[in-house]
C-alpha cells in the first residue's frame, strides 16, 4: 500500500532564509507522526507545507500516493486543527462544523447526519447552537476537532492543538486524541513543542532543529538511542545526563573515566563499547542511575558519589550530584535514605548508555 504521506527533499525558503532543509518523511496508514522541536525549528511551517497553506521552494509532497505539491489545500483530502482553534466567530458550532460541507455543496440531509454523528462522538450535542465565544477552551478544542472529523480525510493535521489548554485539560485531551486515533484508525500528523506529548501520542517521531531533521524513529528509539546530543537533551524530562568522559580500550572492553572535583576519578568499565575515541560524552538517563542494590544486571556498576541535593517528587526522588563538571541527576525510589552532603552508592546501568562525539554531537555507539 502506498504511504499516506510522502515528503521528498522538501526545501522551504523565506527570501534568502532557509526555513526547512531537505526534509524526507514517509508515513504509513494508521501512523501517528509527531513533529517535535523547540520553537522556531520549522515544525509548524512543515505542517503548513503539508497542508498546502505555504508553497514549498523545492521537493515534492504526495498524499495518498498522489503528488500534491501544487494542489490547493481544499483538494488535498486533509483536515486541520489549529492552535487558536480558528473557529469562525460569527457562526454557531453547528455551522462551524458544516461550513466545509456547505462550501462543497453537500446536500443538507447528509450535512445534518454527519453533524449529528460527530457531535455524538465528541459529546458536543448540547453546544451545537452556541457561538464559539460562549464556549470554554476545552469545548472549543472539541469543536475544532469536530470540524476536522466531519471531513473524514486521508490525513489529519494538528498544529499544537493543546497548547492553549491548562495542564489538567491538556492531559485529558491528549488521552482523548490518542483514543480517537485508535478508534478511527486515522493517519495523523501532529506538531508540538512538548516532548511528553510527542512520546505519549506518537507511533513515529520527527525531531527538528533549525529546519533540519535530527532523527526519525519510534518513541522508544528516540528515547533510548538518540541520534545526537540535541535529541538526547531535548527528549525526556528530566533531561538525559550528558557527562564528559575519557574512554580507554582495555582487555575487557572500554574503560570510562569521569573527572570529579575534589575526589578520585570515577571509573566504569563498559564491556560492549568498542572503537570509541578518547574524548566522549557519556549519556545516561536519570532512571538508569539508581541507588546501589536496587538495580541488577551484568552491566550495572556501582560507585560512591557525593549527593548535592535531594528533590522528592512524590513517586520518585531525584538526587543531584556532580560528575565531569556537570550536574548529574539520578532517579531513585521515593523512600531513599539519601541526604544532601553525604556520600551515596549509585548504580550506573551501562546497558542503556549512549556515547556522543563532543565536537559533532553525533552518536558513537
Amino acid at each position: 500500500m502506498a504511504p499516506i504521506l510522502d515528503i521528498k527533499n522538501l526545501y522551504k525558503n523565506y527570501g534568502s532564509v532557509e526555513i526547512l532543509k531537505d526534509i524526507n518523511v514517509t508515513i504509513e496508514p494508521g501512523d501517528f507522526l509527531v513533529l517535535v522541536g523547540p520553537s522556531g525549528c520549522g515544525k509548524s511551517t512543515l505542517l503548513n507545507c503539508i497542508a498546502g497553506l505555504e508553497p514549498i521552494t523545492d521537493g515534492t509532497v504526495a498524499i495518498g500516493g498522489r503528488d500534491m505539491t501544487h494542489v490547493s489545500p481544499k483538494d488535498r483530502d486533509i483536515a486541520m486543527v489549529f492552535q487558536s482553534y480558528a473557529l469562525y466567530p460569527t457562526m454557531s458550532v453547528a455551522k462551524n462544523i458544516t461550513f466545509g460541507m456547505k462550501v462543497r455543496g453537500v446536500d443538507a440531509a447528509t450535512q445534518e447526519q454527519k453533524l449529528q454523528e460527530v457531535a455524538q462522538q465528541l459529546q458536543i450535542e448540547p453546544l451545537l447552537q452556541r457561538r464559539p465565544g460562549q464556549l470554554s477552551g476545552g469545548q472549543r478544542q472539541r469543536v475544532a476537532m469536530g470540524r476536522a472529523l466531519v471531513r473524514d480525510p486521508k490525513l489529519f493535521l494538528f498544529d499544537e492543538p493543546l497548547s492553549n489548554l491548562d495542564a489538567k485539560l491538556r492531559v485529558e485531551m491528549r488521552t482523548e486524541i490518542k483514543k480517537l486515533h485508535q478508534n478511527l484508525n486515522a493517519t495523523m500528523v501532529y506538531v508540538t513543542h512538548d516532548q511528553i506529548e510527542a512520546m505519549t501520542l506518537a507511533t513515529k517521531i520527527v525531531v527538528l532543529k533549525g529546519g533540519v531533521v535530527q532523527q526519525i524513529g519510534s518513541p522508544a528509539e528516540i528515547y533510548n538511542r538518540p541520534a545526537n546530543l540535541f535529541v538526547a537533551d531535548f527528549m525526556g524530562s528530566p533531561a538525559m545526563n550528558l557527562i564528559p568522559a575519557r574512554a580507554k580500550a582495555n582487555g575487557k572492553g572500554t574503560q570510562i573515566e569521569i573527572e570529579r572535583a575534589g575526589a578520585a576519578p570515577l571509573v566504569l568499565t563498559d564491556t560492549h563499547a568498542k572503537n570509541l575515541p578518547e574524548d566522549v560524552i557519556l549519556g545516561l538517563r536519570p532512571e538508569d542511575i539508581a541507588e546501589a542494590g536496587f538495580r541488577a544486571g551484568e552491566d550495572v556498576q556501582e560507585a560512591d558519589c557525593m549527593v548535592e541535593m535531594v528533590e522528592p517528587a512524590g513517586a520518585d526522588t531525584y538526587v543531584v550530584s556532580h560528575l565531569g563538571g556537570k550536574q548529574v541527576t539520578a532517579r531513585l525510589h521515593a523512600e531513599t535514605s539519601a541526604k544532601s552532603g553525604e556520600s551515596l552508592s549509585l548504580a550506573f546501568d551501562l546497558s542503556k548508555v549512549s556515547y556522543f562525539a563532543p565536537e559533532s554531537g553525533e552518536r558513537l555507539n
Binding site: N48, A51, L53, S72, P73, K74, I78, A79, M80, F82, Q83, S84, Y85, A86, L87, Y88, P89, T90, M91, F99, G100, V103, R104, P132, G133, R140, R147
Partner: protein
C-alpha cells in the same frame, strides 16, 4: 499594617475630596458643553424668529413667536443666484451623490483591507503605504489634474463625476480602517477556511463581513460626513443643477441682496447639517465601539 489602621479615620475626608473633585469635573464639562451648544442654540432660535424680531430683539433671546416660515423658505423658496427653489433640489443632489459614494468607497475599502491584512502578497506593505499617503494629500493639489481627468472621462460637471472623485479620495481612509481592523483577526481563520474549501470571496463574505459591523459603521460615518460636508470638490466639479447642498448653502447666504435674512440662512445651515447629525445620533454608539474594538476573540 499602619495603612489598615489609619484608613477608617481617613475615609470620610477622602470621600469628601472625591465628591468635590467629581463636582468640579462635572461643572467644568458642563461649561464646555454649553460653550459648544451656544452656537447651535443661537442658530435654532434665530431660525424660528421672524425677521422683524431678529432686528428688534436680542441674539440669545428665545423667540417671542415661533414661526417656521424661514424653514419653508430655506427648503423650497430661497434664491441661489437666479433660481429661487430653496435647498431642496441640491439636498437631493447631495443624497444621490453621498449614498453611492459612501457605499462604493466602503466596499472597496473592505476588500482592500481584507487583502492587505489577510492575503499578504509581495509589495502589500508598499501598496498600503502608498494608500496611506493618499490620505494626506491636500484636496487642493488634486483639483486641476482631477478636472482634466473628469473631462477626459466625459463625466465633468456630473454627479457620477463627483461620486468618482469622492470614491477615489475615500479609498485611502476606508482601506486604512478595514486593514487595521482585519489585521487583528488571526490568520489561522483564513487557513482554516481554505482547508474547508472556501475561496477568496467566500471567506470574505461568510467569515470576515459578518465580523465587520463596528468598522463598517465607523467607515460609513466617516465617509458620509466627509462627502456630505465637502465643499471644495462640490464647488469645483459641479455645474448648475448638479451642485451639492453645501454649495447651494453658500450661494443662498452669499447671493442675497438687500436685507440679510438671518433666519433663512440659519434654517438652511441646519438643514444642510441635519443628515450628518442624524447619522451620529443613530450610529454614534457603534462609532465609539468600532474605534476602540481591537482583537476579535474566536
Amino acid at each position: 499594617m499602619t495603612d489598615i489602621s489609619l484608613s477608617p479615620a481617613h475615609g470620610p475626608s477622602r470621600n469628601w475630596g472625591k465628591i468635590a473633585l467629581r463636582w468640579l469635573l462635572f461643572t467644568l464639562l458642563g461649561i464646555f458643553a454649553l460653550f459648544y451648544l451656544m452656537p447651535l442654540f443661537v442658530m435654532v432660535t434665530t431660525s424660528l424668529k421672524s425677521l422683524e424680531e431678529i432686528r428688534t430683539g436680542s441674539l440669545v433671546a428665545f423667540p417671542r413667536e415661533v414661526t417656521f416660515e424661514a424653514w419653508r423658505t430655506a427648503w423650497s423658496g430661497a434664491c441661489t443666484g437666479i433660481q429661487c427653489e430653496g435647498l431642496r433640489p441640491y439636498f437631493w443632489n447631495s443624497v444621490i451623490l453621498a449614498i453611492p459614494a459612501v457605499a462604493i468607497s466602503t466596499i472597496l475599502g473592505a476588500i482592500n483591507g481584507y487583502v492587505i491584512a489577510q492575503w499578504k502578497f509581495k509589495g502589500a506593505n508598499l501598496i498600503f503605504s502608498l494608500m496611506l499617503f493618499g490620505c494626506f494629500i491636500p484636496f487642493q493639489v488634486v483639483l486641476l489634474p482631477m478636472a482634466r481627468m473628469l473631462g477626459m472621462m466625459g463625466i465633468a460637471g456630473t454627479i457620477p463625476g463627483l461620486i468618482f472623485v469622492h470614491v477615489i479620495y475615500g479609498i485611502g481612509f476606508t482601506t486604512l480602517f478595514f486593514r487595521n481592523y482585519y489585521v487583528s483577526i488571526p490568520q489561522e481563520l483564513v487557513k482554516a477556511a481554505k482547508v474547508d474549501g472556501a475561496g477568496f470571496f467566500r471567506i470574505f463574505w461568510s467569515i470576515f463581513l459578518p465580523l465587520s459591523l463596528p468598522i463598517i459603521v465607523v467607515t460609513v460615518i466617516w465617509q458620509f460626513t466627509q462627502i456630505w460636508n465637502d465643499f471644495l470638490f462640490g464647488v469645483s466639479f459641479s455645474q448648475a443643477g448638479t451642485q451639492p447642498v453645501t454649495v447651494a448653502l453658500n450661494n443662498i447666504v452669499n447671493s442675497t441682496t438687500g436685507v440679510k435674512e438671518y433666519n433663512v440662512d440659519m434654517a438652511a445651515a441646519i438643514i444642510a447639517a441635519l443628515p450628518t447629525l442624524l447619522v451620529y445620533v443613530v450610529a454614534g454608539k457603534y462609532f465609539i465601539r468600532g474605534l476602540t474594538a481591537g482583537s476579535v476573540k474566536g
